[in-house]
């Protein structure tokens, strides 16, 4: 297990570095010069060249990359070209907002997703199943920015229950969490239902039933636990997505999160900020996927990490 973990961690570091390298080169190839953007309409070519030299952008691209990498390994992610703040501080600040929003949205997605999925499977082909799955199709299909605006108009403007923008207190997160979590709740409910229905056809379910296990004990202990593997895969991916920020929800609700930060940085060609953000997103993703793999073994003891699965 520990050998497997060490291997996975080394692999993760390699993935993150490869992503950083690819991003660095892509950003340098696409049109759009950050110095020209920064210096404005009336900058002379000499002034642009001077600033480019000050920022080290006149050096060969490999030298720029290794310079950035060395600084990053020393904890220095650089300074934003446009906001002139340390990138690390900006990421940390935005992570706080994204993490709070993600927490609310994810809890909501898990609670509603699992509950609806289990209920739909238990009441398979009954009215509740049809109702919940219709809702889940609507949840998956509705664009989250549209859900966000509807929530703002109804619960913010009309009923005045919740603030429509900002992130000053917990109540500010209610509407964005619903808007963000709806789609994930819907996808988790659908995969839970499908997986549960698959499991209920298995021999061991009939055996448990024959042994006299009935009702919710049968559903939760025998069916749900065995149905969890695909659910964990989807829910894990969803967690990675939520934690890397949602540009649309953060923009609509004016939350200073990672998604919005990254999109602005890309539009402005704020290279240090984009690089820092990409490192953050890549790191979050590889950690989540690693945790999901470990969780497989915890949920299903037949899975042995690094040694293949027993039949």
């Amino acid at each position: 297990m520990s050998r497997y973990l060490l291997g996975r961690v080394l692999q993760a570091i390699g993935v993150v570095l490869a992503i950083s390298l690819i991003t660095f080169f892509i950003l340098n190839v696409i049109p759009g010069d950050p110095v020209e953007l920064m210096m404005g309409e009336f900058a002379t070519p000499e002034a642009i060249a001077q600033v480019r030299a000050q920022m080290g952008l006149d050096k060969p691209i490999f030298a720029q990359y290794f310079n950035w990498l060395t600084n990053m390994l020393h904890g220095d992610f650089g300074v934003s070209y446009f906001q002139h703040k340390p990138v690390f501080d900006m990421l940390l600040n935005s992570f706080g907002y994204t993490a709070r929003l993600a927490l609310f949205a994810y809890v909501l997605a898990l609670v509603f997703g699992l509950t609806f999925g289990i209920l739909a499977a238990v009441f398979h082909n009954k009215f509740i199943d049809r109702l919940l799955m219709t809702l889940s199709i609507a949840g998956v299909s509705a664009p989250n920015f549209w859900v966000a605006i509807i929530l703002q108009i109804y619960f913010g403007l009309t009923l005045k229950w919740f603030p429509i923008s900002g992130a000053k207190d917990w109540n500010y997160y209610v509407l964005p969490a619903i808007a963000l979590g709806t789609r994930y709740a819907a996808s988790i409910s659908r995969i839970t239902r499908t997986s549960m229905l698959e499991v209920t056809k298995q021999d061991y379910m009939r055996t448990a039933s024959a042994k006299g296990v009935h009702g919710w004990m049968l559903v939760m202990k025998h069916a749900f636990r065995n149905a969890l593997i695909p659910v964990v895969t989807v829910a894990g991916t969803d967690l990675g997505n939520i934690l890397t920020g949602s540009m649309l929800i953060e923009t609509v609700f004016t939350i200073d999160g990672i998604g919005k930060l990254m999109v602005d940085a890309i539009n402005q060609r704020d290279l240090p900020l984009v690089q820092g953000g990409v490192m953050y997103i890549a790191t979050i993703c590889v950690i989540i996927y690693l945790l999901v793999d470990i969780l497989y073994a915890v949920i299903d003891p037949r899975i042995r990490l690094g040694g293949g699965a027993e039949g």
Binding site: P31, F42, F82, H84, A167, V252
Partner: protein, 527 residues
């Protein structure tokens, strides 16, 4: 137990006093899109950042919403030597920065030397680099500004390398705001990020990417500011900003043109007010003989005139821009020096076809316009108009960064442009865009020595009547004979103000939230 009781009571009193004072504080809530550029007026030119900066820092002069320049930190307008090269200014006495230090000529010297120090990366040096020694400083050849002389603590002189009639006008722009030397030096790289100290009516308080708090400056030299605090809430979405206004969270905000129509017929629309910025929207055209290695049809003035004739400006303003504009008859805006009422540009698709045939293009012409997403509604309409006259305008949608790079390199053939001066003088927008020294950087390449001579003469003259005449001739030449650009319309903008907001003014895209604006307290308390 008694001690605990006393402590609880004391705490309760503190909270009670705090809540009462908070309730009684007069606070203006203003909403705008997040500028995301910091608040140092030397290193950004963003009008939304300027709205905040103008509350905190002041310059020698100020342009108000009536397009009048008024002395602020300068006692009066300068004495100008006969040769037009030396300007003598007197600072207002008894003006203190919000940190308690007095404004003197050393702060003026420091401010301009900081601006010309290449390490600062100041963006607007082109407006002030006619001061002797400025170019040497910018080139890193000098560390002191040779053209500055401090006569005493309150009197100083600027010496220019050549006469420039707009020098005092340029000093009225916030880019020349005066900073306190000690505070600015102490702040270092944090200036404009965490720290900004000035002589303005408000002090920069807590600020982040969500909001900026401006508190009343107790040391302010002018009349007492109307509000205890101004809270600027920063949005990323225009829709959300307007919802916040509808919800009563904001007292004031700008209304984007594309959302103007959807509010018509609602009570919110009654709170909308139009204002008229100085700018003009036009089709900017690359006039070089070749473009992308091919002969450029747009180099032929007849093709450019045909384009102008093919565009239905009335429809464009009425239906695409929701009536928020006035059809343009020239590049100079009606509020600017040198504007004269001219006949409307003809809308004549058949005439355009005939003109194209005369120019040797009986089958029409094809060219490409690089556009940003915000330019799309106007440009799609224009594309459709041009097609009626056999002109094919291909639209290539790019992001703002790509657009800037292409344009700076002269690689844009045609583009939508809204170009706004900082004050009502054509030197600030027409010279800066169309003079042959500036046109290549705008991907325009207009080069008519006659036009240049008129613009240069207007820079030297100090007689505004003479300058108006020169600009009138230059505009006629550029907009009506050479069709160096295709003027489309003078845009109107809209802001929303709650019923109790009084005296709100907007000066050239800058929301003047810190001067005249006030509340009618009877209406405010009744809300």
């Amino acid at each position: 137990m008694k001690k605990l009781l006393v402590l609880v009571m004391a705490l309760a009193m503190v909270f009670a006093i705090a809540s009462v004072s908070a309730e009684n504080a007069k606070v203006l809530h203003f909403g705008q899109i997040n500028p995301k550029v910091g608040y140092d007026p030397q290193t950004n030119t963003n009008s939304r950042a300027t709205t905040i900066e103008e509350c905190v820092v002041e310059g020698l002069y100020f342009w108000n919403d009536q397009n009048e320049e008024i002395p602020v930190l300068a006692e009066d307008f300068p004495e100008i030597s006969e040769d037009g090269l030396t300007y003598t200014f007197k600072l207002r006495k008894g003006v203190y920065f919000s940190n308690g230090t007095e404004l003197t000529t050393k702060d003026v010297k420091y401010t301009f030397e900081r601006m010309f120090n290449p390490a600062t990366g100041a963006l607007s040096t082109y407006m002030y680099n006619m001061i002797a020694g400025a170019k040497e400083m910018l080139a890193g050849e000098a560390t002191e500004l040779a053209g500055f002389e401090a006569v005493d603590d309150y009197t100083f002189k600027f010496t220019l390398t050549q006469p420039f009639s707009c020098f005092t006008k340029n000093l009225g722009i916030i880019y020349a705001a005066i900073f306190p030397q000690d505070a600015c030096e102490a702040a270092g790289d944090d200036w404009g990020i965490g720290t900004l100290v000035g002589t303005g009516p408000y002090v920069l308080g807590d600020h982040d990417n969500s909001s900026v708090t401006l508190t009343k400056n107790a040391n302010y030299w002018g009349s007492e500011p109307h509000f205890d605090e101004i809270i600027v809430t920063l949005f990323d979405d225009e829709n959300t900003k307007l919802m916040a206004f509808e919800n009563g969270d904001l007292d004031l905000c700008q209304v984007p043109t594309d959302l103007y129509l959807q509010y018509q017929g609602t009570p919110t629309a009654d709170k909308f007010h139009k204002y008229y910025p100085l700018g003009t929207v036009f089709l900017s055209i690359n006039l070089s003989d070749e473009f992308d290695g091919q002969p450029n049809p747009l180099a032929d003035v007849r093709v450019r005139e045909a384009i102008s004739m093919a565009i239905d400006r009335e429809t464009l303003v009425e239906f695409i821009d929701n009536g928020l504009g006035t059809v343009a008859t020239s590049t100079v805006n009606p509020a600017q020096l040198g504007f004269v009422a001219r006949e409307a540009y003809p809308f004549d698709p058949d005439g355009a076809k005939a003109l194209l045939a005369e120019a040797g293009y009986p089958d029409g012409v094809t060219f490409t316009a690089h556009i940003r997403s915000t330019d799309q509604p106007d440009m799609v309409q224009i594309q459709s108009d041009l097609a009626q006259a056999g002109i094919t305008m291909k639209l290539e949608l790019v992001d703002a960064a790509t657009w800037t790079s292409l344009r700076n390199a002269g690689n844009v053939q045609c583009e939508w442009m809204g170009w706004f001066p900082l004050y009502a003088d054509p030197d600030n927008n027409i010279y800066s865009y169309f003079h042959s020294t500036n046109a290549p950087g705008k991907s325009v390449f207009y080069n008519n020595p006659e036009f240049d001579a008129l613009m240069d003469a207007a820079r030297l003259s100090t007689d505004d009547a003479e300058r108006a005449k020169l600009y009138e001739q230059a505009d006629e030449l550029m907009s009506r004979k050479d069709y160096a650009c295709i003027p489309l319309y003078y845009p109107n903008y809209v802001f929303a103000a709650q019923d109790y907001v009084t005296n709100f003014t907007v000066g050239n895209l800058i929301y003047q939230i810190c001067y005249d604006v006030d509340f009618d307290m009877d209406l405010y308390n009744a809300k």
